[in-house]
């Protein structure tokens, strides 16, 4: 809890939820993204439909889901689908408008590593791997990244590219013919970033209250491009904090 009366996670959640304004169908896992999506549904994006990556539609969880396949997501939902149909008929078919990804490493073009730290054949740290991330990055129309920021995670060169972001060559990106357009926003515990229309490079948009640009610079592996309209992230509103604390994560499992 910062002296401003909200936690870093609450700031990340509020800032991330705002990036979902106007989205229609969001692919969601548990943890922070689950809280972010449910907050967006109650604030900026009332029409938002959540598709849980275990294959559940229109979930009405009666408690905070503790796993992506929590049974409370299924009871009372509008539809359940097999993994094949979820990936083939929904994701690959372009029905998913937005999805959240994170990773152990991200580079300046939003490429993500969730596979390994060190050499693949002789790993320093073996990470979980792709899961659905690789195809989500390719097919979800907007990728929203939530990651805590550090020089070891915001790196110049990935040890392994699990999921593609922007290539750095906008002409190439346009020619891909994917539904996915690479990440459009990155929200960290220090700041929010977008990606430059032209170069596809990560661009610092706002720093969170009490954070300096130098703090941001000190916690990433390259000198970030700065937005022309660089500003401060609006802090969580009372309404956002009330929803998070009373409805979405009353035990503060993800937000304290």
């Amino acid at each position: 809890m910062s002296q401003d009366g909200y936690t870093k996670n609450e700031m990340m959640i509020a800032a991330s939820a705002r990036t979902l304004a106007g989205e229609r169908v969001c692919f969601v896992g548990v943890g922070l993204p689950n809280i972010v999506c449910n907050l967006a549904q109650r604030t900026v994006s009332p029409e938002l439909q959540l598709v849980y990556e275990a294959g559940v539609f229109g979930a009405r969880p009666q408690r905070l889901p503790l796993s992506i396949g929590d049974p409370t997501l299924v009871s009372g939902s509008t539809a359940v689908t097999s993994m094949f149909e979820l990936f083939a008929f929904y994701l690959q078919a372009g029905l998913i408008d937005a999805a959240f990804l994170g990773g152990a490493q991200i580079d300046r073009f939003g490429n993500l590593n969730t596979t390994v730290i060190g050499d693949y054949a002789a790993p320093k740290v073996r990470l979980p791997g792709s899961g659905g991330a690789c195809e989500i990055a390719i097919h979800a129309r907007r990728i929203l990244v939530i990651m805590r920021q550090a020089t070891r995670s915001f790196v110049g060169d990935l040890d392994f590219q699990t999921s593609p972001g922007h290539s750095g060559d906008p002409a190439h990106d346009r020619a891909r013919g994917w539904f996915g357009s690479g990440p459009t926003s990155v929200v960290t515990d220090l700041a929010t970033f977008g990606f430059d229309e032209e170069t596809g490079e990560m661009t610092l948009l706002t720093v969170h209250p009490g954070v300096t640009i130098d703090d941001v610079r000190a916690n990433m592996g390259w000198d970030p491009r700065l937005s022309g309209s660089l500003g401060e992230t609006p802090p969580p509103t009372e309404d956002e904090l009330r929803l998070i604390r009373t409805q979405l994560d009353p035990q503060g499992m993800y937000t304290s």
Binding site: V25, Q49, V56, F57, G58, R60, Q62, R63, D70, P71, T72, V74, S75, G76, S77, T78, A79, V80, T81, E85, A88, F89, Y90, Q92, A93, G94, L95
Partner: protein, 311 residues
Amino acid sequence: MSGRVGGTSKTATMADAVGELVRDGDTVAIEGFTHLICFAAGHEIIRQRKRDLTLARMTPDVIYDQMIGAGVARKLIFSWLGNPGVGSLHAVRRRIEHADPEPLEIEEYSHFGMVCRYVAGASNLPFFPIRSYYESDIPSVNPNIKPMRSPYEDGTEVYVVPPLRPDVTIVHAQRATAAGDTQIWGLLGCQKEAAFAAERVIVVCEEVVDEAVVRRDPNRTVIPGIVVDAVVEQPFACHPSYAQGYYDRDNAFYLEWERISKDPEALERWLKEWVHGLEGHTEYVARMGDRWDGLMAGERLSGQVNYGDYS
């Protein structure tokens, strides 16, 4: 989507749904394998005198014989062309065999090939591989069916079919919510795949039910509202096909159709009396009178399962 069939509630009349979502020149799929064939939608398309449609269906059945006899279509994509267990689709045959009254372009596959075209369309795949068509003349009359080799050691030869992406798919279901969450039981055919493959989807149902009914049994949902454009409540819309648990197949009508379809004038008269002469399907149902007595289904309940309360 226009106002009338848009919004959170997608409920619409058959006339509005067909009027706004089926356009001249469209590729239209009305699917349902014997079960849940939405004749009422086909009749509305005839009534609205749509033109130059490409009709896709595994088994064209009597419904496409009626539509093609009525002149709404220029092309047919199919895998089995007949009146199941009875005989031929004579209106279709007249056009293929004698260009009478005009030619009908055809594109044919096997059942498996048609199903996989829908799967490819639903999955946004550029092609779908199947082990069929070996030593058959079918690929020689349909260049869309191409041979391909496995890139793995085995080098197995398969054939591939291209995705089928209807402009409109029309499916019938026992029940759906106003938002389009659709539940079907009994024979499933390829309706799910055909719906996901389509640009626009019309769900016609026996009953529009409260969301709570669907939420009680989410595994029963075959098509989610997310891909549905319009929901039309039209009971008995499948006659002479059937809806499991609601009414029976009218096998007598399939037999009668053999005679009607053979005679162009009888077909004209039938269309005049049962389609053009009627406001819509509600009138058709009423006009059938006590023919329904022999077609109603008795009760045979599924039993319940427990999803569990996890609060």
